[in-house]
Point group: C2
């Protein structure tokens, strides 16, 4: 009878017996399980394990290759692209390494920093390329140490292009990718997953196709976990290569590199670099339409789709690697037509999970940074303890210092002229500021006909969830309650709810109503009188830029405002209103008035002085309605406040 | 305007500024706040702080003195008394020290073990008395170390009675209580709160009343935190003493010792020991009724109530200390008439919180021990990490070994004859066992006319909450689903609900439905077929005594089955179904069949063989219905199982 179920396992009948326990962990209490409930196995897996699991489940996947951009502006755009293309569900992305571009530096555009951003701020599993020829052991070790420190877990080990025409091996130097693979395994043991390059037509510098296969086998036997191939033009090329690899004993995953042709010139350039030959039948199609970009791209998409289908249909291919050339349209189109672009509206947590290995257990964040997740990740990057740690004293260095936080990817995506059009070329008083906030909420154009699609506290249009509160928000912003964050109360909606759901299916999610705004001291005075009536129901924190802080919160305890109950799990409470971190957020929230808005205007201009006045005199307020099963009372609090003022 | 509220505080305006932070803890992230939400400040306070807080708030309190019992049976009864009298809300209890009774030993009846039980198993703040004369420094240090190790935090430092009539001071020995106070402070710094004795009439051995006051002052200045007085018969005696103490500079709390006269003989004995004189007016009343116990007790209660009223009305007394003589009725009566006996049906958590300082942060327990909390505390006493720790591998020594667990206070309170009447002098088959379970549920007498008020898994009558499920429970027990633990689902009832509520007011409590039972392998086979239909909704663990374990639980994660949402707090989830600890519980649950039930019968008797058969062949099953907002489906699961069997 016991054998009827899949989940049978045998446990020791005595609590002291040695053998046969059903538990996976064999040791004593020291290795007691983490207290953080595991919501998605994914978070705890290495890339090679994810790959293996997807292969076993027959679930096809894709990955995306990008190169580091040349300018800071291009970097900001590339990161937006990471966010958008990340939504399609790539198993990983990779970032190439250009020795000439100072790839290991701290520059905004270096390979290292772009990969760091992808992992830490975009939450993407990322492979950093690294080349080794013409570099010292110390340089390479330094790069690898830095990568590890930044939370990168995967390296694509490459030789790189030697300098000059005539190249000679250095004795004891890094002459081939295999040397780098060995070095990584020697110095970093099993920390990194290592990827190496395969050449379906053989490397152009190799003595022969067979010799190149033997080199590949050496790289794998030296410790590489999987192979990504150079691009190719016919599926047979890859399938033959794969069989040849298997024939000589290469058993690790081999991922075909797919290059959707996107334009005549990029194709020519790539062919030149890779020393590949474009098949005649492709040339025949392209040459006549070489000046028609759209036509070439359509053809490229067709070609890629049909080649990918052949690969997938062969049963030998489980994942496809795309050379995107940092472009979005062609690759996305191919993926959608193949049916492997999977936008999953379901979130594992109500905020984007970072892919840094240190943060994989993170399961709670203050609500304040809801619209500025990259800023939160940046400011907490030195934390060691995420699941159980709480926010220390606001005067402690636990939060990254504010002065550092103007990283390029925390800046607005919009240029100054755009911002001026949205937020006003010239402000005439506090009311013109109220109007900007109101237009942002309503989506209506301002009096100059421009839509307000971002604010200093929120670089994106209003969240779908906030739309639920639109009407009330509009009303209060018009009257000088300048809202920057809010959520409605929710009393047990299914975790699969398209707007407010998160976490595994079969669960229920809950929220306490939350409202955060800037407002004048006059309104705060009235608000405080009104709040006396709501003393037991509403928790408030009210603070000005000087740090005068008024609150009825008990001690310094966080208030959970989002939580979820799931089958067979402990309770998850991913969002809290934390009184200590609020004081750090306050610094950031007030600074944004000056840094992002006031500085758009000339010094001593009336517009600048209006923003400066608000910065100096307004209060930042947050309100929580603890009684989540009842109708949200925060609007009543605000109405009562306005009534008292009238 | 900021000054209008009480909660104003000033915070630093920069996250790096040194001064003026609103946070209480000044240091960095290292001292980050505990992740356990503080539900009751009480749990984290020392006794002297609790005393101070109650004095400041004007909230009168009482405490209770007990002496160690002479026999193990009497100890079991005393511990039940602790549980009952603990319900009235004493600020602390104290346990006296009798040098002749091996008070520091591990005997069931020693002062040390009785105090240990009060703290750890009854959750009572406890003072352990300790005397010092005729003892070596090493003995005393040993006792104190042991007390500390057991979680005792308060010592009443006494001289004790010297041996023999003629007593001489030992040089460098412990001659007076003050020597013990100094020793505790020298060796244990500020770890213990120290209480010393005061004599409102002067100590009988002192040269004079004034000299005795000076001795008392020495004890306080040596480090005592508060004073409890010897008994007295008139409130004026105490009030004069208190004024005299204050006059010479004693400022610590002085707590009057109240002795409700409970009988003629006990009064005579006490008077003889304490060398006190009973006032003539009391003698005049008592002598004529000396053979009428009830009359004397009534008079004693009257006398105590009026004296306590005078003391409390004086405004100088904030707490009253009662010499209970290990009796319950008189003291409880006095306290109730004074209005300071406060049975608070509201629980801080759904289980009784231990008073051990190490366990004060404990906030989650497996549901399995719900009816055996003392056993759970005993078996986890070596744990270091309560709030975030989880249960390690069941084969680890994290749980106290089963073989040790037959502590006297884990045994049934009922004698063997009682148990036989309830559970059957002679069993005729499995059905007669079903009948015992059914009678326990219904409260109806068994066929021999005896009510079944306890079971091996539950030493008390059915919990009020379980009554909610009575009808269904009766039905299933009759058919051989032998339930030992259950709870209904609850979808957000107020935390003040008299039956299922717990925690501070203004909150909401939730539960997932839970059912745990023993049943035959035939029923398990059918049940498993039925459970396939409920695969996504119901989590199950099914295990037999040999440890064959069948489950659909994901990994080894605990499933939260009780949680609460409170204003301004993080989520509290005090009860979980933990797959790992279930295997330790299984050992205990199966052992109870043999140890408590089978062993009532002769070896090889049919009755014993029936219980042995059940022990060897039945399964222990637990079921959780994850869909708490819907109607509990577990009864449907059981019904479907019976239907399948028919």
């Amino acid at each position: 009878m016991v054998n009827e179920t899949q989940h049978t396992c045998s446990a020791s009948s005595s609590s002291k017996s040695d053998g046969g326990s059903s538990s996976g962990s064999e040791s004593s209490k020291d290795s007691s399980r983490c207290s953080t409930p595991v919501l998605d196995a994914d978070r705890h897996e290495r890339l090679r394990e994810k790959m293996r699991r997807r292969q076993d489940s027959g679930d096809k996947w894709f990955s995306l290759e990008f190169f580091p951009p040349r300018t800071a502006n291009a970097a900001v755009n590339l990161i937006s692209r990471f966010d958008r293309m990340g939504a399609g569900g790539p198993l990983f992305i990779d970032v190439t390494w250009h020795p000439a571009g100072d790839p290991g530096s701290d520059k905004e555009t270096s390979s290292m920093i772009i990969a760091n951003t992808a992992v830490n701020y975009c939450g993407l599993e990322t492979i950093l390329h690294m080349t080794c020829c013409n570099q010292t052991k110390d340089d390479i070790t330094g790069h690898l140490q830095k990568a590890k420190r930044l939370g990168l877990k995967n390296i694509m080990a490459l030789r790189g292009d030697p300098v000059g025409e005539e190249w000679e091996e250095e004795v004891d130097g890094f002459n081939y990718a295999v040397d780098l693979v060995k070095h990584i395994r020697n110095e970093f043991d099993d920390y990194f997953d290592i990827c190496v390059a395969g050449y379906p037509k053989g490397h152009p510098d190799a003595e022969s196709y067979e010799a190149d296969l033997r080199h590949l086998k050496e790289k794998v036997f030296a410790g590489a976990d999987f192979i990504i191939t150079q691009l190719f033009f016919r599926s047979e090329t890859f399938l033959k290569f794969m069989k040849d690899c298997q024939a000589i004993g290469i058993t690790c995953p081999i991922i075909p590199g797919i290059f959707p042709i996107q334009g005549y010139h990029s194709l020519r350039q790539l062919v030149k670099l890779s020393k590949l030959e474009v098949p005649q039948e492709i040339k025949d199609v392209i040459e006549p339409i070489k000046d028609n970009d759209a036509a070439i791209r359509n053809y490229g998409v067709e070609l890629a789709v049909s080649m990918c289908r052949e690969l997938l249909d062969s049963g030998m291919v489980h994942g496809l690697h795309f050379y995107t050339l940092n472009r979005e349209v062609a690759t996305t189109e191919v993926l959608k037509r193949l049916g492997i672009w999977k936008e999953d509206p379901r979130r594992p947590l109500p905020w984007a999970v970072s892919a840094h290995p240190k943060r994989r257990v993170e399961d709670v964040r203050p609500i304040f940074w809801a619209s500025r997740p990259k800023s939160y990740i940046y400011r907490t990057q030195e934390w060691d303890d995420f699941p159980n740690g709480r926010w220390g004293n606001s005067s402690s260095p636990a939060f990254g210092e504010l002065k550092d936080y103007y990283l390029f990817y925390l800046k607005s995506k919009s240029p100054r002229e755009e911002l001026l059009k949205m937020w006003g070329e010239e402000l005439t008083g506090e009311e013109s500021v109220f109007e900007v906030f109101t237009c942002y909420i309503t989506g209506e154009p301002n009096k100059n006909g421009h839509k307000v699609t971002c604010m200093p506290w929120n670089d994106d249009p209003l969240a779908t969830e906030t739309n639920l509160l639109k009407e009330q928000l509009e009303k209060v912003n018009r009257r000088g309650i300048l809202t920057i964050n809010s959520q409605p109360n929710i009393n047990g909606k299914p975790s699969t709810d398209p707007i407010v759901g998160w976490g595994p299916s079969g669960g229920y999610v809950f929220q306490k109503a939350y409202l955060e705004f800037f407002t004048s001291s006059e309104i705060v005075t009235a608000l405080l009188k009104v709040l006396k009536k709501y003393e037991l129901r509403v928790n408030y924190h009210i603070v000005n830029v000087k740090g005068q802080n008024i609150t009825n919160a008990p001690d310094l305890q966080p208030n959970a405002v989002t939580w979820g109950i799931f089958p067979g799990r402990e309770i998850i409470q991913p969002t809290v209103v934390d009184p200590v971190s609020f004081l750090s957020w306050k610094d950031e929230a007030f600074a944004l008035w000056i840094e992002q808005w006031a500085k758009l205007y000339e010094e001593e201009s009336p517009s600048r002085m209006i923003i400066q006045y608000i910065h100096d005199n307004y209060y930042l307020v947050n309100l929580v309605d603890n009684d989540f099963p009842l109708e949200n009372c925060l609007w009543q609090v605000v109405d009562d406040t306005f009534e008292l003022l009238n």
